[in-house]
């Protein structure tokens, strides 16, 4: 496209599309013209989905996962084991773990990690709410599934210290060598972690 400005609404649509991640000027133009040519219902379905997302999605009142009701679908599911809580940094991590199909417990979403250098402290996360859940009873295991980054580890250590006197069993996801990789290419830290986390064969 040249610098010539298009008619108002279409230009506005392209400007909005360009703000989306991974969408440059060319893609914005393609999508905008696609929507212009599409059936009215088809194009408005996208608009309605965006509106519903912004209006109806809110944090689950128990675990802070994305929800469209008081409780998210996982917390509301009677088949889930409410005594095991998997603690993750963000809803995307929850989706990744859910996709494995091995988790029967429920979650707690922290909404980030402790990042002291960026001014994000424990009070900016949902750690207090997690402590209240544990103190309310019924939870026997907390699985810390924060990222194995330094800030994820800092967050896990902080939660461990907060929950230390509640008597709840606190575990951490295993770490080490990724399946499909080779020991000869693994770095020292990965091998140390893998050795420490070895289990009965």
């Amino acid at each position: 496209m040249s610098d010539a400005k298009l008619t108002g609404p279409l230009q506005r649509l392209m400007d909005e599309l360009k703000k989306l991640p991974g969408i440059g000027a060319r893609s914005a133009e393609r999508v905008a013209f696609h929507l212009l040519k599409a059936e009215r219902d088809e194009a408005l379905a996208l608009a309605k989905a965006i509106m519903a997302t912004k209006d109806e999605i809110r944090p689950c009142s128990r675990c802070y996962n994305l929800a469209d009701a008081e409780l998210c679908t996982i917390c509301a599911d009677p088949r889930r084991d409410q005594s095991q809580v998997i603690v993750v940094e963000q809803p995307k991590d929850l989706l990744g773990l859910e996709a494995t199909g091995v988790i029967t417990g429920v979650y707690h979403v922290l909404m980030g990690h402790i990042a002291p250098l960026e001014g994000v402290g424990p009070a900016d996360l949902t750690i207090d709410a997690l402590a209240r859940r544990v103190k309310a009873g019924g939870i026997t295991e907390i699985v810390l599934a924060t990222n194995p980054t330094l800030e994820g580890d800092a967050t896990a250590l902080h939660i461990t210290s907060i929950l230390a006197d509640t008597g709840v069993n606190i575990t951490r996801l295993a770490r080490g060598i990724a399946p499909g990789s080779h020991i000869e290419f693994a770095n020292r830290a990965m091998l140390q972690e893998a050795f420490r986390g070895r289990h009965q064969a």
């Binding site: 250098l117 330094l150 800030e151 250590l157």
Partner: protein
Amino acid sequence: MPAQNDDAVVLGLTEFSETSQIVSLFGARHGRLRLIAKGARRSTRQRFSPGLDLLERGEVGFLPARGDAQLDTLTEWVQRDAFAGLRRDLLRLTAGLYAVELVAALTEEADPHPALFAALVHLLGHLASDAPAAPQIPWFQSELLRAIGYAPNLDECVVCHRPVPRGSPAYFSAGAGGLLCRDCEPLHVEKRRIPAGLLETVPATGDPRAWFELLDYHRTHTAGRRVQTAAQLAALLAHP
């Protein structure tokens, strides 16, 4: 300029776009560096050997910016030491974050400080070991103050240059640059009392919390800049 390399510690990581991040490093020969790491996040992260996380030490390769580019580009990262041991304890980890935050705040880009780099690597190695962590924190603070030219004078009264008798109350003024004797102390508004007995020790061997607070007070008043991790570290030193 051709490609450069250095021995470096990761001071900070900032998300820049979906796939790239800004990496702040402290290099032994280059001082503080700010590099853009394209494709450093998510699955493409392996390009820089596994890792590239805060407080790691590694061999960095980078291309100086050309033309309009504002930032030098990270081209290689080979991890040398992740100091994994400091991740098992909140005090050790917070002390490491405090150290890199100080280095990031108090040094300039492209201003090398080889002695400070050596002190930082020594501190991180110590924090990752089984040795007690707390005494190393004030040791690093005094090394840092010396490296940036703000070392306080703890040998004599900075006003009258007489020795401060051991056992008598001693005061410290950051603005005056060190100790104040009992006679000179009333002339200074900005000052704090030094805990009894502290001056009979040195930062690496004395009461870690008292030395930490004195040296952090001095740094705050002289070099300025609020340090996010200072309050948390003080709390951890108070209740280990």
